[in-house]
Symmetry: C2
């Protein structure tokens, strides 16, 4: 039986406990939505202030060189690369996850001529499916999206599949794919493997190079704490970079962007995957946010996250038996860093929680999501969040009219 | 004969003189590079600070609603729309200019089936040509880019041309196309018209709706002062929006993004041209930067810009006859808000100017660019910039070794 005292002891022993001081968080709030928008690192805010007060306003256009803006996408990319098991020069921070999906799906299709299927999971994050639909429509139906149930994927990789495109952790229920096994299976069948790491980068150890992953994309504003709408990232394995092209062949991916020549020629390496001018203010925030990881290992983060999710599930099962359906895998080895509970009144329950300072979110129609971000969530927070949920369920306070109004959050 | 006293008198009479106080600029600097990176409006910095200190760090994910992040691309788009003669609901702030070119070129080609040519000007900004190349390559050569000399464009619009894609003002020499005439000619020949407003939005009055322009893109970080790499914008005429689709069909352009349904269905109106999550910090800066225009008319800005360019050219011709070739049109009606001078030693001359506090830039191999931004450049600045240039030319001080090192700036 877990006690609050036991959780407080875990906090006292927690090697990550000091990390919370590196973040700015509102008072009297337990923030369990870092899987949607990560909290603000102090260093990110300081860096943005410097970008305004010095780099933009004082050094002006000279900052492209003096502040290193021109190479920022590659430097930030390599910082992310270290968190996802990529080699130097394989990762680039740029654009949005959606735009990066388009680039890498097009690339995959080009690299596997004669194969005309993008294979995905119909429970994938919608934009992953939508971008494949858009590419397919542009190519006049010569390319098809085949979206199946998660458990049908492995057996469906046949000679028509150019690329298997999956999210490592499912956004809605937290289910975690076996990256090594599925990548191996895709390769055995001659397909490329593209992983969307939006819900796993910064949440658990990832070994792209060791798993021989071909392509990956991910998000800068969730577990990487880069700020709202922070630039996303993409990864292309070194062995594919020589053949890598993108239909979004913009000037920032040109071999000599400042020579302004009329014909496109791709830059060497991962830099060729850039398109237009990077959003420097947002990118600077992400750059500084990543320094939080300098003193932290993802093994530590994962160990704490597993324990936090586990204890949260235990408390919900113990205190509120039969009130929720656990839609996340019960086995933590098959779960990312979130716990998802189904309840027909998910929306008003979440509104009641938020009103009491426990912030999670809802995925329509009926799933409450709780994301656990060990850098700034304590073990005691788990107890307090679960007991707040219990109070709301016991008292039926989610039935109050004020909580019946829906709110959309991402 | 112009005198410094005459220019000081123009400053005293200038209805825009007070605008400079709304910008933060370095001391002892004449900034003639706002056509590359606009100066920082005080309001932009204040807004970014609020985005950090309140919206992100305190309100967190709730800011998607409470701070209006979710509709920001449309609100910012409409503010830009007012500066380019668009109707409400025709303009959207999103992505980079390059990505937006891809969206609108794909759309144009879809709207003109049976026509397989993108017609452009070979002196267009490179990314405009590169993105057309990328789309053409993706479509397997079914679509061609035809890039001609500027004076060949009008007569080259034939039945094969799906879209004429031009930059309103040329980035390298400041030449200004006649938007009304060329748009009319494109329509007479059955083609769509796409204008890139990167070097004209915020520099001169633009009348997209009155000229019946179909499509446009532009940049947020030049004359709109949105900050380094600020989100770009796109415009789709209302009459085309019902048929408008984008191959970059991301979740932010979905009709119900927060319902997370597995199939794509476009949002109503211009919102469908969105792709992924917007870069909120950078977009917030742009949003506030646009409020500078609340009390200013583009007619005033254009009148001052024309006078500034004119006097700068006169001083160069008078003080440094035969030392530079004017590559910008001499007729101000055919010129944007920049003056471009050719000199074999353009790079070291610009380095010498920058060392003395006059910031312009160079476009390889031999063009000095001076951009005039009437919101924060005074008439006296014109005299001081030209006389600094004269001193450098007269003394040959650009020959010093320190100025011979090249610098790349954008």
């Amino acid at each position: 039986m877990i006690s609050r005292e036991y959780l407080l002891q875990l906090d006292r022993d927690d090697p990550l406990a000091a990390m919370r001081a590196q973040f700015v968080l509102p008072e009297r709030t337990i923030y369990l939505d870092g899987n949607s928008l990560g909290a603000m690192p102090r260093a990110a805010a300081e860096r943005v202030r410097r970008t305004l007060d010095h780099d933009w306003s004082q050094a002006l256009v000279r900052s492209w060189n003096s502040a290193g803006w021109v190479d920022l996408p590659q430097r930030v990319g390599d910082k992310i690369g270290r968190l996802i098991g990529a080699r130097a020069g394989e990762t680039l921070a740029c654009d949005s996850t959606s735009v990066n999906l388009f680039k890498l799906l097009s690339l995959a299709v080009k690299l596997r001529p004669g194969r005309n299927v993008i294979l995905s999971d119909r429970e994938n994050f919608p934009t992953d499916l939508y971008m494949a639909e858009g590419l397919s429509a542009l190519l006049g139906g010569a390319l098809q999206l085949r979206a199946l149930a998660p458990n049908e994927i492995e057996s469906a990789i046949d000679d028509d599949v150019a690329v298997v495109s999956l999210s490592h952790v499912n956004y809605r229920n937290g289910a975690l794919y076996d990256m090594a096994a599925i990548t191996r299976r895709a390769h055995e069948r001659g397909a490329l493997m593209l992983w969307d790491l939006a819900h796993s980068a910064g949440a658990l150890p990832i070994h792209l190079a060791d798993c021989d992953v071909d392509l990956a994309v991910g998000c800068g504003y969730k577990y990487l704490n880069g700020g709202p709408g922070a630039p996303a990232f993409l990864y292309v394995a070194q062995r594919l970079q020589g053949q890598a092209t993108t239909p979004l062949s913009g000037w920032f991916g040109h071999e000599k962007p400042f020579e302004f020549v009329p014909s496109y020629a791709p830059a060497a390496g991962i830099a060729r995957m850039q398109v237009g001018t990077p959003a420097i203010i947002s990118m600077s925030s992400l750059d500084a946010a990543l320094d939080v990881w300098d003193t932290v290992s993802l093994e530590q983060v994962r160990a704490k996250s597993v324990r936090q999710c586990e204890h949260f599930v235990e408390l919900v099962e113990q205190w509120m038996p039969g009130r929720f359906e656990l839609v996340s895998p019960r086995d933590s080895a098959r779960r990312g860093s979130q716990v998802c509970l189904r309840h027909a009144q998910a929306w008003p329950i979440m509104q009641a929680l938020i009103a009491r300072g426990v912030i999670g979110d809802v995925r329509a129609p009926d799933i409450l999501r709780f994301g656990f971000t060990p850098l700034y969530v304590s073990y005691a927070d788990i107890w307090d969040a679960a007991s707040t949920l219990r109070d709301i369920i016991d008292a039926g306070s989610w039935q109050h009219a004020e909580f019946q109004a829906r709110a959309k959050v991402t």
